[in-house]
Symmetry: C2
Subunit: 352 residues, 2 copies
């Protein structure tokens, strides 16, 4: 092993994202992609921008920050546009957590937070959810530098209440930032953004991957106080968003008519999916996201995942103890969900 | 100041990239952009990809790594594709330099290396060039973790010899990586890539910004041993390149016919620029890049920069002591260079 590499990096494992089969033909319900295309206005803006890729992009991503600021009712200086929300999460860890510092995460949850902590040589304080995925009793947080909570929660799909988020914010010490990862908030009923006024240690992370159908474009957002953002801005790769992503993201954020129609369609299909799963005798959690976590009470979840894969339907299975009897299913189109439900029904019938 | 932010980050300043005036109409010779468009094949590939941006990109950037591996005669596992070479430089610092570690840089040089060191809380060992920009006598490097050298050198444009690079590689301790930043190597006469076979501590960094006319697309490359790359891969944001950038970069790397014609045009204009600067009585350095550093012996360089800017010609001025009497001029089109030379001549004449 090359001795130039930090021991923290040598010791860690790489993060492994969801499956991406190379051969097509799958009904792909495993990565919470949006089944509908991005805004036509965004596509047109990106197409028009292609001929300019020889020239450096504007380095502050101004047009994206302005569009987001207008939409969310904050100042452009409170917004950072990033190369996928992963970059924002990384900047947070790099800015706040040194060797031996503590980062708090909730489990089960997005395991990438732990990967980022490992790169920094930081320690992870794991706070476990009960099976109801409500905010659990909080341990002593006084030595913690960062607290990550996805809200709505992944992989359960459960939305926390404003009271739960406020409780977390008030339990955090002044020396810690509380990061609410709102990757799925557009599919839910509220956002923590208005809390920024009262809680200067709050950082909101957003992505255009899911609700704006742009997983392949890599655009995320960070929203916090101007003071905190000016610190993070030093850590950001200073040309972090290419020209195509900048114009596409700005146009998508401004096309709220298309966005809202898209969200409504997904919510309707989510209702259909939950109903169908219940009819199969499974126990879906209520969801405020574009996926549904379903507990299989009478069938092995891993086996169901594998059998669905054989039948060209890809869903997500986690071996994490609390959810090892669950599948996470992306809300696709009505047609995709009907295929999933029919294949599940066939697999259950086979067994009888 | 928020106490959650690491003191190293609070203490540092942000990197400031080159000027990007919002009003157009400038002859822009300050950021070493390529005046010719990217490969038409790359543009076509990007256009065809736009409709797929709803789906996550392939996370290892396989098509880019394969195209680069074929071109440079290395294995795809030796290549990392990154969101601009800045990301590779950041990954290098994050992977190798902890708080209090030492990073060696050569000055004058790319100041971003120092910014990245500051984020890590690492110390910088500065090795000064003489006015000839040959490799200076090397200090004791035994405690150094990373050594950054651009080759060809920026901002002088001078190419180091293979012997100079080998001397640096052999002077570095086994616990250090030597990073040769070949951002401009395509405009020069040799590359250090074949040295990878003999020097396992060598890392090459490349960019498609300059020679492939893709500054606005943000694609860079790292090339090193498979062993080192497997470590860096843990630190990379795992969906770091969007779909459009992936297909554009892969297509551009495979369109060597267009690439070579483009490079030849720029080399011819570079000769024309150097000749013109000499005729004005200035002292241009020989260049193996797409820019020329010119020493103004009889006119204040900062004043010339400002007067050129008034006349809508943008070049780069650095207040760094060794080059405070110099301007760095990008090799644009023949027409742009003729405009620059005519404006310089007019400014010099005005003064007499």
């Amino acid at each position: 092993m090359n001795r130039a590499i930090r021991s923290a990096v040598q010791a860690m494992s790489a993060y492994i994202p969801g499956e991406q089969p190379e051969d097509g033909g799958y009904v792909k319900l495993n990565q919470n992609e949006n089944p509908y295309p991005p805004s036509a206005k965004a596509l047109a803006a990106m197409q028009a921008e292609l001929c300019k890729v020889g020239v450096y992009p504007e380095s502050s991503n101004r047009i994206v920050r302005e569009a987001a600021a207008e939409l969310y009712g904050v100042a452009p200086e409170q917004v950072m546009a990033v190369n996928g929300s992963d970059e924002m999460l990384r900047i947070l860890c790099q800015s706040c957590a040194g060797e031996g510092d503590i980062i708090a995460v909730f489990t089960p949850g997005f395991t990438f937070y732990k990967t980022l902590a490992a790169v920094q040589g930081a320690n992870v304080l794991s706070i476990e959810f009960g099976k109801d995925f409500r905010l659990p009793p909080l341990p002593d947080l006084s030595d913690v530098k960062l607290i990550f909570l996805p809200s709505p929660h992944a992989p359960s799909g459960i939305a926390f209440t404003p009271e739960e988020i406020v409780k977390l914010l008030e339990s955090a010490p002044e020396t810690a930032l509380v990061v609410i990862d709102e990757a799925y908030a557009d599919f839910g009923e509220w956002t923590a953004i208005p809390l920024l006024k009262d809680y200067p240690n709050l950082v909101i992370v957003r992505t255009l991957s899911k609700s704006y159908s742009m997983a392949g474009l890599r655009v995320g957002l960070g929203i916090a106080s101007t003071e905190i953002m000016s610190q993070f801005d030093k850590v950001r790769d200073y040309y972090n968003l290419d020209r195509v992503a900048q114009v596409g993201a700005a146009a998508a954020l401004r096309d709220q008519e298309y966005f809202n129609a898209n969200i409504e369609k997904i919510k309707a299909t989510r209702t259909r999916l939950i109903k169908g799963l219940k009819e199969l005798g499974a126990c879906p959690y209520e969801s405020q996201t574009n996926f549904v976590l379903v507990r299989l009470t009478e069938y092995d979840a891993e086996k169901m995942y594998l059998k669905l894969k054989d039948r060209k339907v890809l869903v997500r299975y986690f071996s994490t103890p609390q959810i090892a009897d669950c599948l996470r299913i992306t809300v696709g189109t009505d047609k995709e969900i009907d295929t999933l439900l029919a294949e599940m029904a066939a697999i259950l019938k086979e067994e009888k």
